[in-house]
């Protein structure tokens, strides 16, 4: 069995709702985390991201002015001076399939649909800590490898060219989101 030393991890939590921030802070502290920084909008979160260099970002999606999707896109800038590789967990009330796809294409690492549960949050954190995925850079995408399809015969329109069929044996982000409770 593996245990995470949460007291060595630095979290950045971004949610405009103070009640949800309180819940997240409570859960993370009870897991053992000591360093939990909080932002109430995406712009503040981006500043804090540069300043505190968190290990893991947990962000809401729907926020005023600068939302969680834009935050993910700003973090995933391959030429940035900061760290473009930090795991991003999108914690959101959105629960439609197309939202998962949009979040994935913005470079989000894990998707967790509300209502939040201690188990769901812990599993997402464990996964980003224990099973980091390689990053992919294309003309239109920079972020964690989105391929989890084990069908090596796939020849669809977005087939990558020039490599062996290397795929990660993981359920899709959508399947994981469906089993978030």
């Amino acid at each position: 069995m593996f245990r995470i030393d949460f007291n060595k991890l630095r979290f950045l939590v971004c949610d405009d709702n103070p009640h949800m921030r309180r819940i997240l802070r409570t859960l993370l502290h009870s897991f053992g985390a000591r360093e939990v920084y909080e932002a109430e909008d995406g712009a503040t979160a981006l500043e804090m991201y540069s300043h505190y260099v968190p290990d893991i970002v947990i962000t809401d999606w729907a926020m005023p002015i600068f939302d969680g999707l834009e935050l993910a896109q700003m973090i995933r800038q391959p030429e940035s001076k900061g760290n473009p590789y930090a795991p991003i967990i999108m914690l959101t009330g959105h629960s439609e399939k197309r939202r998962v796809t949009v979040a994935r294409d913005a470079g989000v690492t894990e998707f967790l649909a509300k209502p939040i549960s201690a188990k769901g949050l812990y599993q997402r954190i464990l996964n980003v800590v224990a099973n980091p995925r390689p990053f992919i850079k294309t003309k239109t995408y920079f972020g964690p490898d989105r391929r989890r399809n084990t069908n090596s015969a796939y020849m669809g329109p977005e087939r990558r060219v020039g490599e062996k069929h290397e795929v990660l044996q993981q359920p899709s982000l959508l399947d994981k989101a469906r089993s978030s409770i």
């Binding site: 405009d16 009870s30 760290n83 009330g93 020039g162």
Partner: protein, 192 residues
Amino acid sequence: MAKNSAKDIEVTAFATHQIITQPNPLRKVLRRVEDKDMDDPVSRAEQALAGLAGEFKDWMTTEVNRLSAAYVAIRNDGFTKDRRDELFRAAHDIKGDAATFGYPAAAGIAESLCRVIEHAPDLERVPAELFTHHINAILAIVHENTKLDSISVSAELSRRLRKVADDYLADVNRDRPEHLEVILAPSIVPAE
């Protein structure tokens, strides 16, 4: 701790993409432990969350008052982008939080309201009753929670409002297949 130095990052180039690999920057926080030494952080967190339960009623009241105020502003002065966004965010927060706070039926009704706001082609033409019935139902569930036969009544209320809202959305989006597809798609969150 979270960032490797540039020399640790390996980039392999292919025709259409690059694959970037690096040692796991978080490997140092993982420790192998014997089963007997494994505590249960999830159980500990659930207990901590239960410790907040005494505040949930007040938090939920704050959330529904915000929703109500957002709609009053629209009723008095009409829809603008800012007012529409505030109504959506207030409903969306209830959709996400209410089940955690002990009001799952309110979450379902808030989800239905979010769908109306998101998929109605013209919010000015949505019957006012569709908004007021959703908002009043959420208010009633929260304010009267101890008086209603809460689980059965509020769950039935949630189901009926969702049916009315979905019928309305299916009708007004009959010529907008991209919205119709989303409206008819099942949620990724398992039903209660």
